[in-house]
């Protein structure tokens, strides 16, 4: 198998995890216009939960998803109740909500990072899990990446099925399109907001657990993943799970190939480069059709 194909596939594997991170953020932003830049910090916490359970209790990392997901769901509910519920109620315009939620979550980001610094210091922490080589279609990948990709893919498909195949999911999508309409047909808008925020945080937690299988943890890993998620959302379009998934994979491949042709030091530059290019060429996202342009969407 040619090297380029192998590098691209390794990017795809990582892109699957990017997609899951972005889907979580997309739920929060697409649905409620809450721009939660502390999303990466929820991810970091999920990673540490897994690390602690693996290193202190000897758990299988995969099993820890059952803890990090629900735990972060609860944290998400609490954060929403404490910080954002009020904000959503008070907001007059969408812009005001976006700006205020950005400020609040920015503060939250620093608080969570510093709490993590106090609890776990700035040391790199990690454990080894399934890091032996695995043959996939003639190419060799670390087994843990393949596992992380498969699980991220599974979660994304589950979420897609939930949004498109269940009544609750359909109501959520309805809410995303038109809040007033959703109220009129009797949807419990406030509770759905809280649940949705919690779900986004839970997905961040799960992604963090998966990433901890691949990379060492430090309290400051969150920011780069928040940025990654934002880029993926912009690539894939607001509120679209399928778009986020495709965007995540694309970003993973571009990053892997870019690093291959340049230097690992350019990883973030490449990501921002993709973002800039998309903003210039297709400001509404790669996959958005004209009908889904923001000005044609109703006010959230």
């Amino acid at each position: 198998m040619s090297l380029l194909l192998e590098v691209a596939m390794s990017g795809l594997l990582l892109g699957g995890v990017y997609a899951l991170i972005a889907v979580g953020l997309n739920l929060q932003y697409g649905l409620m216009r809450i721009l939660n830049v502390a999303h990466g910090e929820f991810l970091m916490i999920g990673g540490y939960v897994t690390y602690l359970l693996v290193s202190l209790r000897g758990w299988n990392p995969l099993l820890t998803l059952l803890v990090s997901g629900p735990l972060l769901f609860a944290v998400g509910l609490a954060v929403h109740g404490l910080l954002f519920r009020h904000l959503v109620r008070l907001r007059r315009t969408r812009e005001e909500l976006e700006a205020n939620s950005l400020l609040i979550s920015f503060g939250l980001m620093f608080i969570l990072q510093n709490v993590a610094l106090i609890l776990w210091q700035a040391d790199m922490r990690g454990y080894r899990y399934l890091d032996q080589p695995l043959q996939v279609f003639g190419a060799v990948f670390p087994a843990n990446r393949v596992v992380a990709f498969a699980i991220a893919l599974g979660f994304t498909i589950l979420l897609f099925a939930f949004l498109h195949g269940t009544l609750a999911g359909t109501s959520l999508r309805g809410l995303m399109q038109d809040v007033v309409g959703a109220r009129l047909v009797g949807l419990p808008v406030r509770r759905m907001h809280a649940a949705c925020f919690g779900l986004g945080a839970a997905l961040a937690g799960v992604s963090g657990s998966l990433l901890s299988m691949l990379y060492p943890l430090t309290p400051d890993i969150g920011v780069s993943y928040t940025v990654t998620a934002l880029i993926v959302i912009i690539l894939g379009g607001l509120g679209s799970v399928a778009g986020s998934f495709a965007g995540g994979l694309l970003l993973g491949v571009v990053e892997a190939l870019g690093v291959h042709f340049t230097d690992p030091a350019f990883r973030m530059v490449l990501k921002y480069g993709v973002l800039a290019l998309v903003l210039v060429l297709r400001p509404y996202g790669l996959f958005n059709t004209v009908a889904r342009r923001p000005e044609q969407m109703q006010k959230a």
Partner: protein, 405 residues
């Protein structure tokens, strides 16, 4: 403050004051005034792995040994206990600089010990020189620093030119034996990596090696698998990582997890750590690294140092700069015993003498140890053997390295 003090309060106060005054007097009689030795070192952050293995344990071992002997012998004063003033620089250069300023101007310590790592030492070197504190650095490896000629800073470690001369020499020998000629070079974009890179690559080129891959990566990198895939497909026989401890682990780990086993693998800082051997087990066998030192070297005190490190700290010293860290303390101890705590006289003494240490004889010319050569080590059966240069070797090079297990 209009209320008058009653007689009862006055008596109580006097009694308390007398009691307080009595305690220090008794303590002072029991013990001489401590020699206060200050340092700031990375207890957290990217440098903490190396600092926690190479330097901090040796500082503690030496202090405890000296205090067990009754204290540091200071010329003209007899023995005084050693007390540390210790800070965490959090692997932040600017914090390190600030803390050394503080040690010199606020804490006014008697002596200082160096921080960990080339970039950090480089950054604090002007500060300690300005305040005239002699600093013998065991983890400073920089050609640039020599151009600055900072009078109070000493590099005890073999410097980049010496280390890379040794590595190039070994690779030429291996090429004669096995024919390996294609080299992939990765280096960390930190002062350490850059300087070693600049010393190594021209040497390899002029020796006629083919450089098939040449990449740098940032400090704290979390993924190098795609670069290593590139190294594999370029047909490299020799993979060289001019790396720091976290990325040393990353390179070895990711090479094995993509199933690429280069016949010659050299990684830099961290390879000589016992934790490296314990972490990778059988996969450490045959990995070469910058170094080297092991308890088999023929210098007086080497074996005793190794055993004291194990028994006092419950772990083995690393097989490179640990012994240099201890040797630098031996030099400082000897200087203070001869000339006291006058720092200018300590400097003059260090400049004009040759010292017998656990890394062998050490002599400084313009602040650089000119005796200890650059060396290459290799893990073989659980020991980091010195394999190059030949006259210092404790074992033959093992090439090609065994397959990953």
């Amino acid at each position: 403050m209009s209320r008058k003090t009653t007689r009862r309060e006055f008596v109580k106060g006097m009694a308390a004051a007398a009691a307080a005054a009595a305690v220090p007097v008794r303590l002072a009689r029991a013990q001489a005034r401590p020699v206060r030795i200050g340092f700031a070192i990375s207890e957290t952050g990217a440098y903490s792995v190396g600092a926690g293995i190479t330097q901090i344990p040796n500082y503690i071992l030496w202090r405890d040994q000296v205090n067990a002997r009754g204290g540091l012998l200071v010329a003209g004063e007899g023995r005084r206990p050693v007390e540390f003033v210790r800070y965490d620089d959090r692997s932040e250069i600017e914090t390190g600089i600030r803390l050394y300023e503080r040690l010199a101007t606020v804490d006014r310590v008697d002596l200082i010990l160096p921080p960990w790592g080339t970039a950090m030492n480089f950054a604090v070197a002007p500060v300690v020189s300005e305040h005239e504190y002699p600093m013998i650095a065991p983890t400073l490896s920089s050609m640039q620093l020599q151009d600055f000629r900072l009078p109070y800073v000493y590099a005890i470690l073999a410097q980049p030119d010496a280390q890379m001369r040794a590595l190039a020499g070994l690779l030429e020998y291996v090429r004669e034996q096995n024919g390996y000629n294609r080299v992939a070079v990765l280096h960390v974009a930190d002062l350490f990596g850059v300087e070693h890179y600049n010393e190594l690559v021209p040497r390899l080129q002029s020796a006629g090696f083919e450089i098939v891959l040449d990449r740098s990566y940032p400090l704290g990198v979390s993924d190098l698998s795609d670069v290593l895939r590139g190294a594999r497909s370029s047909g490299a026989d020799i993979v060289i990582g001019l790396s720091y401890p976290p990325d040393t682990n990353l390179i070895v780990n990711q090479l094995s997890s993509i199933g690429f086993n280069p016949p010659v693998l050299y990684t830099a800082v961290g390879t000589a750590f016992p934790a490296f051997r314990d972490n990778f087990g059988a996969n450490s066998e045959g990995v070469m690294g910058v170094g080297a030192w092991n308890p088999k070297v023929p210098y007086p005190g080497a074996r005793e140092y190794f055993e004291a490190h194990v028994s006092h700290l419950d772990r083995e010293p690393d097989r490179w700069a640990s012994a240099s860290a201890y040797a630098s303390l031996q030099i400082l101890e000897q200087a203070v015993a001869e000339v006291g705590l006058d720092r200018r006289r300590i400097k003059e003494y260090i400049d004009s003498n040759e010292f017998q240490t656990v890394i062998g004889p050490v002599r400084f010319v313009d602040g650089v140890n000119v005796v200890t050569p650059g060396m290459v080590g290799q893990w073989q059966n659980g020991e980091f053997e010195v394999i190059w240069p030949r006259e210092h070797a404790t074992a033959e090079p093992l090439v090609p390295k065994p397959a990953w297990r």
